[in-house]
């Protein structure tokens, strides 16, 4: 059975596994070249996961506890599209992030910044028929990591998406405009193409900014598009 696969990325738009400035890659990146796998049914299908289990406050990270979290309230919204600009409807987006002080609610994060009892920092939502999504949250703080001397991660929100197939699964990070740490961050700089890097930076958006309440940021996500013809053996 020949199937219509998903397109390969444009050169430079995805990081390689090995990027020595990000030190952890030197122990975890494969040393052998990957084997190119022409897509089969196993790659063009994928999980339909979690749709029954979205709670009402899952896309509002400021309303998951009794009180309001500390920090700058923000609205992060956008669309999920494929490379042909077609909306990806009804797909699961999962997010996680540090609190306003740059601390994660995670047992491995021990850096001396306060936890916020009113902020867990995890959310999820489904895109609508037009591929739109929206989260309300707190702007995460920058935080130190031990990758190199005086290393700090720029503020970011982790995004995880499934799309329509195993081949379209994407885990990435959204950054904020004007962050002085972005150009010196080995994680973001692992992407060779400068324009591709910039596409991970959300756009400040007055149209989605809510008066007297929250700043709006727009972040569109593009998942791999489909080949136009079936793969031929």
């Amino acid at each position: 059975m020949n199937v219509r696969g998903y397109r390969r990325p444009e050169a430079g738009t995805q990081p390689d596994y090995l990027y020595p400035p990000y030190r952890a890659t030197t122990l975890r990146a494969p040393s052998q070249p990957l084997i190119l796998l022409p897509h089969t049914l196993s790659e063009i299908t994928g999980p339909v996961y979690g749709h029954q289990e979205i709670r009402e406050t899952d896309n509002d990270l400021t309303r998951q506890h009794a009180g309001e979290p500390q920090g700058e309230r923000i609205v992060v919204s956008g669309r999920v599209l494929d490379e042909d600009a077609r909306p990806i409807a009804n797909t699961l987006i999962e997010v996680w992030q540090a609190n306003a002080a740059g601390r994660y609610m995670h047992h491995n994060d021990n850096h001396p910044a306060p936890l916020d009892p009113n902020f867990t920092g995890a959310g999820r939502t489904l895109t609508d028929a037009e591929g739109r999504y929206r989260f309300v949250t707190i702007k995460p703080g920058a935080y130190p990591w031990r990758n190199h001397d005086n290393a700090w991660r720029p503020a970011h929100i982790h995004f995880s998406l499934f799309g329509n197939a195993y081949a379209t699964r994407l885990v990435t990070q959204m950054y904020f405009p004007g962050d002085p740490l972005f150009p010196i961050d080995p994680v973001s700089q692992s992407i060779p193409d400068a324009k591709a890097r910039e596409r991970l930076i959300a756009i400040f958006d007055l149209a989605t900014t809510q008066p007297e309440w929250a700043l709006g940021f727009r972040f569109d996500i593009v998942l791999r598009g489909r080949e136009s013809t079936p793969f031929e053996t």
Binding site: R28, R169, S188
Partner: protein, 190 residues
């Protein structure tokens, strides 16, 4: 082509907060699920041969008839409404986690070929800028010799894609993932 796909970034050391603290799926097979039950234990080791305790593993597989729970699988095979085919787990301090599932059936491959029973496996962790994909096949499975994907792998490295059964416990299988260096697992560019 109008747009370029968004770049991947590492899931980082706190991936559990978003993906597994509330949203793990260890058991894929329910009471109604058809097929041969199996427990698949997976271990991940880094380039020093040390367990990678902060990784998570996702699996995607066909049902026991060899059909995926997805509209693009147009094979004329029975669906199994009690089986979604997706699992995910964090590994423990020993780099290991265990999925309870059923053995997938054979799935159609390119042309007239047939893919031997396999699970699609992806790893997300700190130190991986993109998710890392491999496959789990079953050692001794007759269809492995004609599997079109194993055929792409150099003969001497195919063993790294084999899960092995535990002779002392029926239905227990073990799969080892070595990210880098000696005995490195074969990974696929999908």
């Amino acid at each position: 082509l109008k747009l370029n796909a968004t770049s991947s970034q590492t899931a980082g050391p706190y991936v559990h907060l978003g993906l597994t603290e509330e949203r793990s799926v260890a058991c894929l097979a329910g009471e109604m699920t058809k097929g041969e039950r199996l427990r698949l234990r997976c271990s991940i080791f880094d380039g020093d041969g040390v367990p990678a305790p902060d990784a998570i593993i996702e699996i995607w597989q066909a049902n026991s008839f060899g059909k995926y729970a997805h509209p693009d699988d147009t094979q004329e095979k029975p669906a199994d409404p009690s089986f979604s085919g997706f699992g995910r787990l964090p590994v423990g301090e020993d780099g290991t986690c265990t999925f309870e599932t059923v053995k997938p059936g054979s799935v159609a491959g390119p042309g007239t070929s047939v893919q031997a029973p396999h699970l699609n496996v992806a790893i997300l962790s700190r130190g991986l800028l993109k998710r890392l994909a491999t496959r789990v096949y079953f050692a001794g499975e007759p269809g492995n010799g004609t599997d079109p994907v194993l055929a792409l792998v150099p003969v001497q490295r195919r063993e790294t894609l084999m899960a092995h059964s535990d002779p002392s416990r029926s239905g227990d299988w073990y799969f080892e993932i070595r990210l880098r260096g000696e005995g490195e697992t074969v990974f696929f560019d999908i």
